[in-house]
């Protein structure tokens, strides 16, 4: 680095005094007032930044200045992943050819797309055709730097929401989980239809009556039907995982649970399973006490026995 550090500088004291002429002068004056203008050529085109002559054929432009923008379109761009100190922005940005609405030519300026780490790849929204507007400095002096940079139009806002709840389990679920805390599956038998619902619900959804008769059922059951899920889920040990309806022995309604301890492609309708409990010292009033259901070394139940539970 030190070998390439400058050891000589040329700087005209006070800076050059540059006459800008009537056309560029008008452009800079309008910039100072926060406006973009172009000049109309004899052929009717609007040139921005304006020149004293038509860049196409060298003919003099008309005296007509046209306000253009502030809406602009990106015509082309080049991403700068590692800005230099002299660059207008000190985070990754794009140099872009930007054509203001109402103009027939584009001007070169910096396009700020937000915060990126040094070396970042160009973002997906950076593309030819994207709509942008100038970001004006609050203190302007009549130079192209009065526009700090261009920025994309706002097409989307990020709307973060969080609502917090306290969800009590309710009497029925609380009682069911008390059973689970003791390693027991508790159900209710309906006094009208006699069906057993596990987990107990405190009501029969068919008869519409409250239920109170508690029934304990075994932790073994039969897979009625299932899905092999190839979509990851934090509660499943791996992908694919099997979510199955399991008809616990003694229950009349299958419950949905994880089946594991067997390759997914070996799970069958009618397969016998048993709850795989975590070590007793880890138990609480939660279904997490049961890791999953694992196969039992018993013959499958025939389809006829489960077909009315599908």
């Amino acid at each position: 680095m030190s070998s390439s550090a400058p050891n000589h500088a040329l700087e005209f004291p006070g800076g050059y005094t540059r006459s800008v002429g009537p056309v560029i002068g008008r452009f800079l004056t309008e910039l100072r007032d926060g406006r973009l203008v172009g000049v109309r050529t004899a052929s009717g085109r609007v040139v921005v930044p304006p020149t004293e002559y038509d860049p196409e054929d060298g003919s003099a432009v008309t005296g007509e200045f046209v306000e253009v923008g502030p809406d602009c379109t990106v015509e082309s761009w080049s991403w700068v992943p590692r800005p230099r100190r002299s660059h207008p922005l000190q985070r990754p940005f794009a140099w872009a050819l930007i054509r203001p609405d109402g103009a027939d030519t584009a001007l070169l300026h910096a396009l700020d797309l937000g915060v990126f780490e040094e070396g970042a790849k160009p973002p997906r929204e950076l593309r030819t055709g994207m709509r942008v507007r100038p970001k004006w400095r609050s203190e302007r002096s009549g130079g192209i730097g009065d526009i700090e940079c261009f920025r994309p139009d706002i097409a989307m806002i990020n709307d973060s929401r969080r609502t917090e709840y306290h969800l009590p389990p309710g009497r029925a679920l609380e009682r069911f989980l008390e059973g689970i805390a003791e390693g027991r599956f508790l159900g209710h038998r309906c006094g009208v239809c006699g069906k057993v619902y596990v987990p107990l619900k405190g009501l029969c959804p068919v008869d519409g009556v409250p239920t109170t008769e508690e029934v304990e059922v075994r932790d073994t059951g039969t897979v009625t039907t299932f899905a092999v899920n190839n979509i990851p889920d934090p509660r499943a040990p791996e992908v694919p995982f099997v979510s199955a309806y399991i008809l616990l022995d003694g229950s009349d309604l299958a419950m949905l649970a994880l089946v594991a301890g067997v390759p997914a492609d070996q799970v069958r309708m009618g397969m016998r399973v048993r709850a795989e409990w975590r070590p007793r010292e880890e138990w609480g009033a939660t279904m997490a006490n049961i890791k999953w259901f694992a196969p039992l070394d018993e013959p499958d139940v025939p389809f006829a026995a489960i077909k009315d539970h599908l």
Binding site: V228, P240, L253
Partner: protein, 384 residues
């Protein structure tokens, strides 16, 4: 007896993965203004507005009907919001139709929408409250086991789902509004896509779409002199609990009851023969054969044979989803309304390249939740 009700205007947006060019209000206005234009009316002519969409959690906008009332020209008018999960588009149309059939209003604007790109439906449907360990991951995770049950019970061969996935996407190629337009769609293409929830492959599931659909419904007097109305011949809704002992989840009773009611009103005894086409809510391929049976187009266990024989294809004797259906466009809250609207367009003779020749009576169908909520209508060319 209900007063006559006619569909006199239909409007749809293009269905896309992301409609980043419009707000929710802009999206519903696009459909509503197209429906009003079709009916040659303005917001000023409308008596009431009925809005439908799926759970608020999808876009995180609570009570969107309050936010959308002025966007839909409803200032000073009755506005109502309907929500019955995935069937909501159908239920919304039926609530609006009820306002006409009951003689409450003469012209009702009904609009349904979803802007799925604002969040993620699988997230919104799988929020997992504490204590109840649900293992369902998205709608496909819920329906896949019941599809497996259908396959086992009916003995259907494995490729039936693939046939539906192809057939509906072929139909979508004729629909200018359709989201999925897969040139050269084929069985091989479907079978190459990954299993998401076995037995469902990626291309056997519906897309996530942004979009809205709208209709203008009118009373007999308001429909007088209107160009090509579609008349409501029957309208019904049914529901049942998601879990109860002895529930037939493959062929739910509520769906059978709803179909029996709507056919009874329309005087239909043999839907396959007496209807000219059907727009049925099929978000997962296998629900075509399942609903063929549930809706009485054939006997139990026979649905897959109709699909296999091509009876439900565009050229078949009873085309199902000539628009491409939910498998091709799925702005969830609007998907049911689109079925109802496409059925109306068929009998109005305005279905464009999706037109089933000479269609005079059509079924619009929607279902939702755990196949718990049903909404159906039969519309016809003739005033009943």
């Amino acid at each position: 007896m209900a007063n006559p009700c006619a569909v006199i205007g239909v409007g749809q947006t293009e269905y896309r993965t992301k409609r980043l060019d419009v707000s929710i209000a802009g999206l519903v206005r696009e459909a509503a203004l197209r429906a009003l234009e079709d009916a040659d009316l303005t917001f000023g002519d409308i008596d009431a507005v009925v809005i439908g969409k799926a759970p608020d959690l999808f876009e995180g906008v609570m009570m969107p009907e309050a936010y959308l009332a002025d966007a839909l020209g409803a200032r000073g008018k009755p506005v109502m919001r309907v929500h019955t999960a995935g069937s909501v588009g159908g239920s919304t149309a039926l609530v609006a139709a009820g306002l006409i059939q009951g003689g409450v209003h003469d012209r009702v604007l009904v609009v349904a929408y979803e802007k799925q790109s604002e969040s993620n439906a699988t997230w919104a449907l799988s929020t997992h409250p504490p204590m109840t360990a649900s293992l369902v991951v998205g709608a496909g995770g819920y329906f896949a086991p019941h599809i497996r049950s259908y396959i086992r019970r009916s003995g259907a061969p494995d490729h039936i789902g693939t046939l539906v996935a192809v057939k509906d996407r072929v139909n979508a190629l004729r629909n200018p509004y359709a989201h999925l337009k897969i040139e050269g769609i084929s069985r091989e293409m479907v079978e190459m896509t990954p299993m998401l929830w076995e037995p469902l492959r990626y291309l056997e599931t519906c897309p996530s779409s942004d979009g809205a659909a709208a209709m203008v419904l009118a009373s007999e007097s308001a429909a007088r002199g209107v160009n090509r109305p579609a008349w409501v011949h029957g309208a019904a809704m049914r529901s049942e609990p998601i879990f109860f002992a002895g529930r037939d989840t493959v062929n739910p009773q509520a769906g059978k009851d709803c179909a029996a009611d709507v056919y009874g009103q329309a005087g239909i005894t043999d839907p396959r023969r007496e209807l000219d086409c059907a727009e049925v809510y099929v978000p997962f391929s296998w629900y075509e054969p399942m609903w063929l049976e549930n809706l009485g187009f054939c006997g139990e266990g026979e649905g897959w044979k109709l699909t296999e024989q091509g009876a439900t294809a565009f050229e078949g004797d009873i085309p199902w989803n000539p628009s491409g259906g939910v498998l091709s466009s799925n702005p969830i809250g609007a998907s049911g309304l689109i079925r109802f609207a496409e059925a109306a367009q068929q009998v109005r003779g305005l279905a464009g390249d999706c037109q089933v020749e000479g269609a005079r009576r059509a079924l619009g169908h929607a279902y939702g939740g755990g196949a718990q909520f049903y909404a159906m209508w039969v519309v016809g060319t003739e005033k009943p």
